[in-house]
Amino acid sequence: MTSFSRQELLITTIARLLQGCRLVATGASSPIPGAGALLARAQSNGRMRVNVLGSVRNDFLCDGGVELFDLAGQGRLDAFFLGGGQIDGEANINLVGAGGEYPQTAVRWPGSFGSGYLYYLVPRVILFREEHTRRVLVQTVDFISSAGPKNDGTYRPGGPIGLLTNLCWFAFDRDKRRFRLDSVHPGHTVEEVRDNTGFEFDCADEVPSTAVPDAATLTLLRTRIAAEIAETYPRFVAQVFPDLAAAGE
């Protein structure tokens, strides 16, 4: 087996989760989702469009900042990525602040960005947060920037399909309104996941290991995809794909 980095596993996992999408977008400060989307596009046989925020070569929007949200409203945007200062077991996410009394929270994060909308409209939202700790993955978020699906009849074609972290992939069960541990990344254990997760989740007796990238995928990622994402995230590529970065200089 070819060796690969943590970031490469996350990227290839994301690419797998995006299979079949026609239009995928990534937001600000999202090198791993961006690389994952570009990898999925490369594997889609020309059937996927990807919009990388901050890119010039991979940004096809012409109608200002609102167009991404309008695309979601039209039902054209198949997948998007959201993170969270806190994420809880019902998939509520908090991008605003924690502790204290809103708006004078003890900790203040930048804010909700588009989450309060995209989370409801985009069919395949991938929650992505590398840090997997009880600080982030909490029982109940302190502030709901965006609510997990409640099956209460609210118009909601979108929602989370799961949560990807440095340790594992949780699938989100929309009927049960709970996460289910679907796979643990190589080198990590269910116990480690449990120790570092503040919410309860479903878990089979045997949890498979997250599928690892094959050699062809890794080659594609380390050459064409790394070059593509370097346009928008040069520092990320210098760090994660130092060989390519060196060759490009």
Partner: protein, 279 residues
């Protein structure tokens, strides 16, 4: 600097800032659209107070500095972030001190409310938002049952935003006061919604943007513009499109100095008050 461009007056930066009264509602764009930072420094020099800032849909250093200088009465935004250049310390400190009213939103909600303002309609509906603490903390928003749905179908209504001023920085104005805005259409939406737009530009060019279909497509027409000031590198230390980049060294310096109120005051002495002549 006293000539007009068609019917649009051209001012100096401090003159342009002086058009804005205390308590004004101003709309400002995100970093990628062109932030009028030189004008923001002039606004701080003017000692403006109680501004209601609507970020369309987010802001960064601009609101951070206005917060540090005590200019804010309310902030309506989907995020305040300095990105990789660190924490918005002055904004956070002012927020914790209750120095202004915080109106957290989500990006398409600000866009929709500004578009409603530009259309002169009283409100705009928006999907999403239901079940969030954003909605709970926005008594100015309301929820109705979609009258076109047979089943129960709650939908949020956002009242139109009509700012007194839209304020931004663009690459150039033409000889008639038209502004080149490219595909930054939030600038168009802001200008339509606002009573008037105060615009700084890298330069004034002796061309007519309306003369060709191609250039007209990326133009905000002069009818919306209340005043223009020439401000080369007017977005500094923020980037402007692909024309210049963030001044990373300066932003790091800002990040260090702005950790404390005293440090911020020192920063302002050096880069806001003393730059008056230069600007």
């Amino acid at each position: 600097m006293t000539r007009d461009l068609g019917q649009v007056p051209v001012h100096g930066l401090d003159q342009l800032a002086a058009q804005i009264p205390n308590g004004a509602k101003i709309a400002v764009p995100p970093d990628y659209s062109g932030v009028a930072m030189a004008l923001t420094r002039a606004m701080i020099r003017c000692g403006l107070r109680d501004l209601h800032v609507v970020c369309v849909p987010v802001s960064g250093l601009q609101v951070e500095m206005l917060a540090g200088a005590g200019c804010l009465g309310a902030v309506e935004t989907s995020a305040i972030t300095l990105g990789e250049y660190g924490t918005a310390y002055r904004f956070q400190a002012a927020l914790k001190a209750g120095a202004f009213r915080m109106m957290d939103a989500t990006c398409p909600a600000v866009h929709a409310a500004i578009q409603a303002g530009g259309k002169g309609i009283p409100f705009m509906p928006l999907r999403g938002l239901l079940g969030t603490d954003l909605l709970k903390n926005r008594p100015d928003w309301t929820v109705i049952d979609n009258p076109f749905s047979k089943d129960e179908d709650p939908v949020v209504l956002l009242p139109a935003i009509r700012p007194d001023f839209a304020i931004f920085h663009a690459p150039f104005a033409d000889r008639n006061g038209n502004i080149f805005i490219g595909r930054r259409r939030e600038l168009v939406a802001m200008a339509h919604a606002a009573t008037q737009s105060l615009v700084t530009v890298e330069e004034i060019r002796d061309v007519d943007l309306l003369a060709s279909e191609e250039s007209a497509a990326g133009t905000l027409t002069a009818a919306y513009i209340g005043g223009i000031a020439e401000a080369p590198r007017g977005a500094w230390p923020i980037k402007l499109w692909d024309i210049y980049e963030y001044d990373e060294d300066h932003l790091k310096l800002y990040g260090e100095m702005a950790r404390t109120a005293e440090g911020f005051a020192g920063y302002c002495d050096r880069f806001v008050q003393d730059q008056k002549a230069a600007e």
